[in-house]
């Protein structure tokens, strides 16, 4: 399949305007998760999820595998019912309404294209089951194929397409039903890195073009942060934080969010004192200062964690929050260098933009580092990602 895999040939904007779909879907249809809990026996998969997803929004659920995000998605699409609470779409309670009756279309993790049908038949399947005639179906399939920039592949079998092409066929098939909400369950996880990056932009473009609500499930924070209007970070069935990507990254509300999204140095300690927004924390590395998350008031002696991003740690003497660290190793990542340090048993990571030159081997050499108190964030002690 020439052209498909090399992302450079793919048009980044679809050539055909999606007029018919945008009319029907621009009508704002909010999705309300009203205190939704989903339990399997004694196991709680989703615990009291309560949020509103606005119509036309690109909304992501981000969390490690097993955090309940797929369960929640299946609940929205109608494959399961909440144990407690309600799911409302456009103000209507979805209780008892099956997946085939809901205004949602789900793109499965493995895409679930029908292997025995041609590409065009796949795309026209939703129309076929609605009793639309063969000619009309074919015409719509051709239109959708043109929209996803794959004209003329209608007669091919699914297995003849490349991964990226299948991806787009799955999207076209989901859009053929003219849903109000498109649910995507880690649809990019099977693609190679370069295509994945390309499809991020492409998905975002489709979403903006057709104006649908996209609900996107992923464990890949890069995907969630680049595409979404808002991100919900989930852990162990609990939604920890719902915010736009920048807020999620810069102002995490829980220690889990701070540790899961992006890299962070987590330094545990006890609150020594607090003045306005700045908190002094007694840590194994000495007394360090950071910002209190969300203007929170701490009690003296409270367990807390101070988070500082690797890119916000600086090398040099005389910095605020000075730490005496030792060089351990360095990793080269192309655009950046990761420097691994160690101070009093606490591992630290410092990243610098690569400006050329080579790494020195400085094993055990003293490395004074420091950071602005405003860049660090102090959060109450809690679960860390990957811990």
């Amino acid at each position: 399949m020439p052209g498909a895999v090399s992302s450079g040939i793919l048009p980044s904007v679809f050539p055909v305007p999606f007029s018919r779909l945008s009319e029907s879907s621009m009508a704002t249809r909010d999705i309300v998760l009203d205190h939704v809990s989903i339990r399997f026996g004694a196991y709680t998969a989703v615990d009291n999820a309560h949020l509103v997803i606005k119509g036309g929004e690109f909304f992501s659920f981000l969390g490690p595998s097993g955090c309940g995000k797929t369960t929640l998605l299946r609940c929205i699409s109608g494959f399961s019912e909440p144990t407690e609470g309600r799911v409302l779409i456009g103000g209507q309670d979805m209780k008892g309404i099956g997946p085939n009756k809901r205004p949602t279309a789900l793109i499965f993790q493995n895409l679930a294209l029908f292997p025995l049908m041609s590409v065009a038949d796949n795309i026209a399947f939703p129309l076929e089951v609605r009793g639309i005639g063969r000619k009309e179906r074919r015409k719509r399939a051709e239109e959708l194929l043109e929209m996803i920039a794959l004209p003329g592949v209608g007669d091919k079998k699914v297995h003849e397409l490349s991964g990226g092409q299948r991806q787009r066929v799955a999207i076209a098939r989901a859009l053929a039903v003219e849903p109000d909400i498109l649910l995507l369950d880690e649809p990019l996880s099977a693609l190679d890195l370069k295509l994945r990056h390309h499809m991020r932009t492409e998905l975002r473009t489709i979403q903006q073009q057709v104006g649908l609500t996209f609900i996107y499930i992923t464990h890949d924070q890069g995907e969630a942060l680049t595409m979404s209007d808002r991100v919900a970070v989930m852990n162990a069935g609990v939604i920890e934080q719902v915010d736009p990507p920048e807020t999620i990254y810069n102002r995490p509300k829980t220690s889990f969010v701070a540790s899961f999204v992006g890299q962070s140095n987590a330094i545990e300690g006890k609150v020594a004192s607090q003045s306005e927004t700045l908190v002094s924390v007694e840590t194994p590395l000495g007394r360090l200062q950071g910002r209190a998350a969300g203007g929170r008031q701490y009690k003296t002696g409270e367990d807390c964690i101070l988070f500082i991003r690797p890119e916000q740690l600086s090398l040099g003497d005389g910095l605020p929050n000075a730490i005496e660290a030792k060089w351990v190793k360095e990793e080269f990542e192309g655009n950046a260098r990761q420097m691994f340090l160690e101070a009093n048993g606490v591992p630290l990571r410092l990243s610098r933009v690569n400006l050329g030159g080579t790494a020195d081997t400085l094993s055990g050499a003293a490395m004074p580092v420091g950071f602005e108190p405003d860049q660090a964030i102090v959060l109450p002690h809690g679960v860390l990602a990957g811990a």
């Binding site: 109608g78 085939n100 089951v129």
Partner: protein, 416 residues
């Protein structure tokens, strides 16, 4: 297999033995179908004939049995395949503990001996028929119905096993996707699951057809006074065989061979098309050769050859050759009779039984009398008791003679 791994002569010899063990009987049977001898044998070769095919087709019992078998087999397919599919679907939907129980229940009929199934089918339906006061003409006592009922009980399980194997490879996400795209559960079944099961339906139908067609040990009970192909065949073999059964074997082997070759052509073509090397292949790249190796072409060619052979066979007339054989036999018989008569006369004339010329004559002549005239023939303790001076007109019928019953009145008629 190569010399390095200990192949060579031993392996080749073993393979040869193995294949002759497998195919030897078949080859001999095929040859006997064309020998005019009324007992299926290769030696002595008498005449090339195709009359045994005619004898086969003229056998009403076998032919009506064949028709019954076909009717039953088609009906079994029509009933057992849907039942097997339903069972497999039910199994794939159940929780694992229930599944184990139901699986055992559904698989049991395969494990029960066919004889037991056959008898229990008659007993069950008979009892049921009597309890509702049905007459003996009703279907409760109809061989065809009982055979159908008896066969379906265990053949359905075969079909189920085929479907189960295929269903294990089905991704249930596809059904979910269909539902999500707006299909009703019925549509999802018809448009997604059923097409996926297509090949399995084909195999299940083929398997159930064969299982029904070749079944004997259940059918022999349930068919009652009727006949299927297998029961008619079995009773024919019991009553004495003739080469028309070999003729039947030729037909069956022919059909099997054609089927196997066409299937092979189909498989190869599919493989080539799937891997996409069709254009580079020497055979599949050439339009003429490509058409030639298409399964349909292969089938037509083979069917044509078979048809031509059959047509030629109907035109073949072995009567001249057979008459010749018959005349030879008569002449030989006459000759022997003459000789015997002459000897009897000699015996009556000479009072002294043992003379050296007679001794020589007795040894030289491999006579049907088992050496009765040999000098020691009447000595006590001899293994063969000599037939004492049989009447001259009787020896052929009384003796299991090498004339093959040529003297019996019906000896030359094809036996039924």
């Amino acid at each position: 297999m190569n010399r390095g791994t200990g192949g060579g002569g031993v392996a080749a010899g073993f393979s040869l033995l193995f294949f002759s063990f497998l195919f030897g009987p078949l080859i001999i049977m095929v040859i006997t179908a064309f020998n005019s001898s009324s007992f299926p044998r290769i030696t002595p070769w008498e005449c090339f004939t195709t009359e045994w095919f005619g004898v086969l087709f003229a056998n009403d019992r076998l032919m009506s049995g064949l028709l019954n078998s076909l009717v039953i087999a088609v009906s079994v397919v029509a009933i057992a395949v849907p039942i097997g599919l339903a069972g497999a679907l039910a199994l794939s939907e159940l929780s694992s503990r229930l599944r184990a129980v139901l699986y055992t229940v559904l698989i049991t009929p395969i494990l029960i001996p066919g004889v037991v199934l056959g008898i229990s089918t008659i007993v069950f339906w008979g009892a049921l028929g009597r309890s509702v006061g049905a007459e003996y003409g009703s279907f409760f006592f109809d061989g065809m119905f009982l055979t159908l009922a008896g066969q379906v009980t265990f053949i359905s399980a075969y079909a189920m096993l085929v479907f189960l194997a295929r269903l294990q490879r089905f991704d249930p996400i596809l059904t979910e996707a269909a539902l999500d795209l707006g299909a009703t559960p019925g549509q999802a079944f018809r448009k997604i699951l059923l097409p996926f099961l297509g090949p399995a339906i084909g195999s299940a139908a083929f398997l159930t057809f064969l299982a029904s067609f070749e079944n004997y040990n259940t059918t022999v009970f349930t068919i009652l006074s009727g006949n299927t192909f297998t029961t008619a065949l079995a009773s024919k073999v019991r009553h004495g065989t003739d080469p028309s059964l070999s003729a039947l074997a030729v037909i069956i082997i022919g059909i099997t061979l054609i089927g196997a070759i066409v299937h092979e052509a189909h498989t190869r073509r599919k493989e080539v098309l799937r891997t996409g090397i069709a254009t580079r292949s020497r055979i599949y790249g050439n339009p003429v050769l490509k058409t030639l190796v298409h399964p349909l072409t292969v089938f037509l060619i083979l069917a044509g050859i078979a048809g031509l052979a059959a047509w030629q066979g109907t035109r073949h007339d072995a009567s001249v050759c057979k008459q010749q054989i018959l005349d030879d036999k008569r002449a030989r018989q006459h000759e022997l009779l003459e000789e015997q008569r002459r000897k009897m006369q000699e015996q009556q004339k000479t009072t002294a039984p043992v003379t050296s010329p007679a001794d020589a004559a007795g040894k030289a002549n491999p006579s049907p009398f088992g050496g009765a005239f040999s000098p020691n023939g009447l000595a006590p303790g001899q293994e063969e008791p000599a037939p004492a001076a049989a009447p001259t007109d009787a020896p052929a019928t009384a003796n299991p003679s090498p004339f093959g019953g040529a003297f019996t009145p019906n000896g030359l008629k094809p036996s039924q």
